[in-house]
Symmetry: C2
Subunit: 96 residues, 2 copies
């Protein structure tokens, strides 16, 4: 079973990511994105969805028009694991 990262491990990993932050009220990380319009926002979501399915690790996310708010956590570990970091790194790689 996958283990959640320790506080130190998480801080180290967050430092390598681009503007992801810890969620205050739960054991998760989060980043918000703003695009030019809905087409660009949903195109981005589609790229993430395909990758997430391949990784078998899925985001929780909210979209309104050009905005996307992504929260990552590993249900099985009840916290942030290397799977969340890997998905976040992919998301960073396809965004500015």
């Amino acid at each position: 079973m996958i283990q959640k990262l320790t506080s130190d491990e998480r801080l180290q990993q967050l430092a390598k990511l681009n503007r992801w932050e810890s969620v205050a009220e739960r054991d998760a990380i989060r980043r918000t994105f703003e695009f030019a319009d809905f087409n660009e926002a949903f195109g981005f979501m589609t790229r993430v969805a395909i990758k997430a399915q391949q990784m078998d690790h899925h985001p929780e996310w909210f979209n309104a028009y050009n905005k996307v708010d992504i929260t990552l956590s590993t249900h099985e570990a009840n916290g942030v694991t290397e799977r969340d970091i890997a998905l976040a790194a992919f998301i960073d790689s396809i965004t500015v």
Copy 2:
């Protein structure tokens, strides 16, 4: 400029839709959906996204794995309009 529906009009329209309900804290309608898995949920979202773009009227929505929570409101009218009803009717037409 598009006008928001009156309370009576909205009730009449909601009665024709499938399990959409008024949101308590704001002037919007909402429905939640549950699918077999993420593939099915995101496939559904993609169909809605394409239709929304065609209508130039977009949902606010949240997805976590097999669940999708959709809120519809017309920003320009600060409330629920016939555009929301039309998008809700399309969404109903592609779901059970």
